[in-house]
Subunit: 140 residues, 2 copies
């Protein structure tokens, strides 16, 4: 595949409201989306815009104890960088390429926080980085 | 301060040549800078460009056992996301603001991999993310 746009950096946090306050007050962010729940993924999500149409920061917090973030936050109680998400023009073609390389894909392709199909590739097959591959949003 | 451009995501790796091969072959990167040593920081560095002038990936590997990356790689033997770097127009003003907030700044301001002054803020004061603040490069 061809490397696509770095759409967002996923940053896990135990409490999304505290994290939003940090990004507004300490980091000086001015555009932060309203948080919303993604029950199928077990997370609450919002996006912090960076200037000049740059890569977004995706803040994610667990919805409950069964969230896939729970283990990460046990190891990193303050939160921290959790994944990177790259855009591709065609999600099926990208999935086939990663599968052909023997990369472990975590679960089925599903609809992500931007409303386009996404999948995640295991960090152990990706030099230690949990990697989200997402179809480019229409506005992107 | 006002949130600046997300200049790069720093990704630690035990072996920079293996990491470059991964970014070229698996992720499809086409523009990867020549690696160079930064002895004062104890790291070897190169940059992977993402499309449309997007945020770069900074690959960093330890120069030797005394590198500040050694502890991170002991905890994360495959490597992984290590820091995020945001641009500011004036490094002295930014440093004064973080100091006034009581954030722990790691060492003196020094010249970073893009040739402009940078400093790092302790992840424990930054919601778990080691944060680099860098003066905007001239071309940026």
């Amino acid at each position: 595949m061809n490397l696509g746009r770095l759409n967002h950096v996923g940053v896990a946090t135990p409490d999304i409201d505290t994290a939003i306050a940090f990004w507004r007050d300490t980091m000086g962010a001015t555009i932060v989306s309203e948080p919303f729940d993604m029950p199928a993924q077990g997370v609450r999500v919002c996006f912090v815009d960076t200037p000049n149409g740059g890569t977004q920061i995706e803040l994610i917090s667990p919805l409950d104890e069964s969230s896939p973030l729970t283990g990460f936050l046990e190891r990193n109680p303050l939160g921290g960088q959790h994944h990177m998400a790259f855009e591709v023009p065609n999600i099926e073609a990208a999935r086939a390429e990663f599968e052909a390389e023997g990369k472990r894909i975590l679960g089925p392709t599903r609809i992500g926080a931007h409303g386009t199909p996404v999948f995640f590739v295991h960090p152990k097959d990706m030099n230690g980085t949990l990697t989200e591959i997402m179809e480019t949003p229409a506005h992107g």
